[in-house]
């Protein structure tokens, strides 16, 4: 009797197991029976070489699969780019759908016309009036002409709609905008705007201005229009999307020749581009190892090590160490709240810079795969050539108040030596290559000099602990991102370790994005692991403009710029220079000199101690696609989340797998 009951229980358990197994086996994917969605699966598809299909029903050999940096998209039907909850631009939207007026060539550090045919030019005899031409034969993906009228409509719509947040930015700059003819746009500004193309074109990542089709938007309320079937001005259209927001499928336009990319570079390679969120980093790496993903967004060096070893077809920017691309346009370091009496003192900031063991910080942050920067501009190739390298002699001669020369140009060779000792292979050999990879140098790690400076400022050290001039223990907190912006997060801990060893009681306070940004903007911090130094073009004045003294507001208020509240004499000089630079066109020879002077003032004051450029681990797998940009094939940087992605697509070719 007992045995029979046991048998029944066991049978129930067995049946349950079988149900799971059967469901699983019954659903095992075949080319025709994949976990498909939408119409794509119902249409006949050209056969791929091995017949493998993606889970959205497209041939794998014709589909480029790209990781979505923003993860799952909450509202996959909201494509209105001017309302807060719209599908994030980096889910393929600005990469493939939206052309921009002007794009950026990050290799040359120059803008070039995208939908526009020319750069904006000042009209002679007319005050603050600029014109530019649009490319001919551009079409929206529904076949309607895309021309100057669409651009003028977009500007006027933004200026007229009080509800649209970006409208405030346009109204602040633009007085009026009109189409003089089908191809000519005229913009009248409130004041001279020699850098108009930088305000409404791409310099970094993308731009808030998206040209919208007048024939679709003219009868809609722009503040409530969902634009769920967006028209494309780029080389792809949206073909399908996951209602849950995990993926977006784009298809090459048949009329790709009527797009800026088609006209200037050629036919895009992939027939389909699938932007998909794979979830956690572990899953993304598993997917990349299995070649289920072609382009990965930000991963950690540790994940890259696993991927590199497990998938020989994976590829990062450099074939060998340091693998990561180091040309990101923002650099990382520690910023100070200069409104604080302690951190408002430039000598204190200098003491902390000299108490930073930068080599250990580099090793602790990203295993030494970082390029140092002593300047207020990121160490990209373009900016290294224009500022870092030309300023080395000045940096070597630069003296602190007491005549001490803090610059150390041996960082690159020293870190290479350390890495060699650790068994790292494939390191650069020549002095020039070493500097190109690891930077021109940084500040000496000299705790004696740091002690000397602090003693002079009234700080005292007892039993290994620093005391402030008022006699209290010197405790400091560094604000850091929690589980986002990994490099800045790790950097905060590594720097805190260095300063703790020096005797300052430092704690790292990690915060979620909303709190972190709020505290940064309201100066509710002592020190923070931020990245307020960005730049991509030799004329980076527009990126430095936020240091202008006019943006300083009291602590507690949201600062429109200058979140470090850095004021004083040096900042007045910087402001003066910035005001001059903002009135100069980017190709004016005075621009480089002016920015060099600004960099010198920042070195003297260190309101933000720049440390490293950003190292991006954004690898690709080459099983299905080839032609990706690398250090050897550097037609562009690996900016998969930027709007310029569309210009990479013609370079990508199927491998035949």
């Amino acid at each position: 009797m007992k045995k029979s009951r046991l048998k029944k229980v066991m049978s129930v358990l067995f049946i349950l197991c079988m149900v799971f197994s059967l469901v699983a086996c019954g659903s095992e994917k075949t080319p025709s029976d994949s976990g498909k969605s939408g119409e794509t699966s119902k249409e006949s598809k050209p056969a791929s070489t091995d017949g493998k299909m993606t889970d959205v029903g497209t041939p794998r050999s014709e589909t480029l699969i790209v990781d979505i940096l923003s993860g799952r998209i909450a509202n996959p039907d909201l494509f209105n780019p001017y309302v807060p909850g719209s599908v994030p631009m980096d889910a393929g939207v600005h990469q493939l759908l939206h052309g921009k007026l002007w794009e950026i060539d990050t290799v040359k550090g120059e803008q070039y016309p995208d939908l526009a045919a020319t750069m904006p030019e000042l009209v002679e005899g007319k005050e603050n009036t600029y014109t530019f031409k649009m490319k001919e034969n551009l079409k929206w993906s529904d076949g309607e002409v895309l021309d100057a009228h669409d651009v003028a409509f977009t500007f006027n719509m933004l200026m007229d709609s009080q509800e649209l947040a970006f409208g405030a930015v346009v109204r602040e700059t633009v007085k009026s905008c009109q189409a003089l003819d089908d191809l000519t746009v005229e913009i009248v500004t409130h004041k001279p705007e020699p850098k108009l193309s930088q305000k409404f074109g791409v310099t970094i990542f993308g731009n808030g201005l998206t040209v919208v089709p007048e024939h679709v938007w003219k009868d809609e309320n722009p503040a409530t229009f969902t634009y769920s079937d967006p028209l494309s001005s780029g080389p792809y259209t949206i073909k399908d999307r996951d209602k849950q927001g995990y993926w977006f499928l784009y298809e090459k336009r048949e009329d790709w020749k009527n797009t800026a990319v088609g006209q200037t570079v050629g036919e895009p390679g992939p027939q389909y581009v699938l932007f998909k969120s794979f979830g956690t980093e572990e899953k993304r790496i598993m997917a990349a190892i299995s070649n289920e993903i072609d382009i990965l967004q930000d991963i950690t060096p540790e994940s890259w090590e696993i991927l590199r070893k497990k998938n020989p077809e994976s590829m990062a920017w450099y074939a060998g160490f340091p693998y990561a691309d180091m040309n990101d346009p923002c650099e990382r370091g520690i910023a100070f709240n200069c409104a604080d009496p302690i951190y408002g003192n430039a000598n204190v900031r200098w003491a902390l810079a000299l108490a930073t063991d930068i080599k250990n910080v580099s090793l602790a942050t990203f295993d030494g795969m970082l390029r140092v920067s002593p300047l207020q501009l990121p160490p990209t190739d373009v900016l290294m050539d224009n500022y870092h390298k030309p300023m080395v002699d000045w940096l070597k001669e630069f003296e602190l108040e007491d005549g001490y020369k803090p610059f150390d140009d041996s960082y690159a060779t020293e870190i290479v030596k350390i890495l060699k000792e650790k068994g790292v292979e494939g390191l650069p050999e020549t002095e020039q290559d070493i500097i190109d990879v690891f930077g021109v140098g940084w500040w000496k790690y000299d705790v004696d000099q740091a002690t000397k400076i602090l003693n002079k400022e009234g700080f005292t050290k007892k039993d290994g602990t620093w005391y402030k001039p008022d006699g209290s223990v010197w405790e400091m907190s560094i604000l850091a991102p929690a589980d986002f912006e990994i490099q800045s997060m790790r950097l905060a801990f590594a720097v805190a370790d260095s300063w703790n060893k020096f005797g300052v009681k430092v704690t790292v306070v990690q915060q979620d994005a909303a709190t972190y940004w709020n505290n940064e903007a309201t100066a509710n911090f002592e020190a923070g692991s931020f990245w307020p130094a960005c730049g991509i073009m030799p004329d980076s004045s527009i990126n430095m403009e936020h240091w202008n003294s006019k943006y300083i507001v009291p602590v507690g208020e949201q600062a429109p710029g200058n979140r470090c509240r850095w004021g004083g004499e040096a900042n007045e000089k910087v402001t003066e220079l910035l005001n001059e630079l903002m009135q100069l066109p980017s190709d004016d020879p005075r621009v480089i000199d002016g920015i060099t002077e600004i960099c010198k003032l920042f070195v003297e004051e260190q309101p933000f101690i720049p440390m490293f450029g950003t190292s991006k681990f954004v690898p690709v797998t080459t099983h299905y696609w080839t032609g990706f940009q690398t250090a050897e094939n550097d037609f562009e940087g690996p900016w998969w989340w930027w709007s310029q992605f569309k210009y990479y697509t013609p370079h990508l070719k199927p491998t035949g797998n």
Partner: protein, 332 residues
């Protein structure tokens, strides 16, 4: 009469709990160190280079107006209570503006309820079945093995467990998809199959980890009950073992488990964040998480209020049903 008195006191408590919960949910996010508008402005400014102070102020005003955050705290509070009570309208999501929070919850809720509801019930059934067996047959080898397995599974962190399942069944033996793909374009057999197939791993992980607790608690309960005098007396009376278990042991052990089940059914409205993240499962957990991270007041209020409502309702239902399940409990 007694029942009416009992019912009215329970209903009053129920309404009070919900109103109190809604009030707390309204005020707590507003005391967070982050503000949705300032956070949005901060992020916008970190991506663009600079904006004039006047432009920032104009954007701030626009966003505050759009989000319904203008007016005093009191005005906002009474407006919110009125909207929620009379129209069940939580307003638009601030981070997914202008989508109504109600719509976001309605989209996510069926997924969460299906996955967590079914897996909770299955793990409850399996766990209590095994637990009962292990409790009343404590000396048998299979009881010890089953209990041992449950004790081993229970303390494993869910994250590790779920990742192990993914590693095993989506990567090493790629039976299930690494990244789930839920087709919701219509109710067809094909779509249903896809949904079930994609839900197997998340459900399995929830069932296996959930079962552990039910086994352990049921084993203890049934073991104790099995040793009670009235059970011994029943055996001495000569009742067969099936009757002893079904009439004496099971009714006395299952009551606390039913209470726990009801409470768990209420908490499924919180979603299961880790499951959703790991398995790309669309549910309420990630909505709540997103709301908290981005200081989306309306989304936080909408999702948490739904959860409060669900837990309070589950408790009320159990309160009202208990006398039917356990005759010892009366309406007094």
């Amino acid at each position: 009469m007694k029942f009416l008195k009992f019912l009215s006191s329970r209903l009053l408590t129920y309404i009070f709990v919900i109103l109190l919960g809604m009030t707390i949910v309204f005020f707590v996010p507003r005391f967070m160190p982050s503000d949705p508008v300032e956070s949005m402005l901060g992020q916008m400014m970190s991506k663009s280079s600079t904006m004039d102070a006047a432009a920032i102020e104009a954007m701030r005003k626009t966003l505050n107006e759009n989000f319904g955050l203008e007016g005093t705290l009191g005005e906002q509070y009474f407006g919110y209570m009125k909207r929620v009570i009379f129209t069940q309208d939580f307003g638009p999501s601030l981070t997914m503006y202008p989508v109504p929070v109600k719509e976001l919850i309605a989209d996510s809720l069926p997924w969460t309820v299906c996955l967590l509801g079914i897996s909770t019930v299955i793990s409850w059934l399996i766990g209590n079945g095994i637990g009962l067996l292990a409790g009343i047959r404590k000396d048998k080898a299979y009881s010890k093995i089953l209990e041992g397995i449950a004790i081993c599974i229970y303390p494993i962190p869910y994250y590790i467990f779920a990742l192990t399942l993914i590693m095993l069944f989506a990567y090493i033996f790629p039976v299930f998809p690494l990244s789930a793909n839920f087709d919701v374009s219509g109710f067809t057999w094909e779509n249903l199959k896809t949904v079930i197939w994609n839900s197997v791993l998340p459900a399995l992980s929830l069932i296996l980890t959930g079962t552990g607790w039910w086994v352990i608690s049921m084993t203890t309960l049934s073991r104790n009950t099995n040793e009670e005098d009235f059970v011994a007396f029943a055996r001495m009376k000569g009742l067969n073992e099936r009757k002893v278990i079904s009439r004496y042991v099971l009714p006395n052990t299952i009551l606390p488990q039913i209470t726990m089940l009801a409470l768990q059914m209420g908490t499924i409205f919180n979603g299961s964040l880790i499951t959703e993240i790991l398995f790309n499962y669309p549910g309420l957990g990630s909505l709540i998480y997103r709301g908290i991270l981005q200081a989306d007041y309306n989304l936080i209020m909408g999702t948490i209020t739904t959860s409060i409502f669900a837990v309070a309702t589950a408790t009320l239902v159990i309160d009202l049903l208990y006398p039917f399940i356990d005759p010892r409990v009366r309406y007094n």
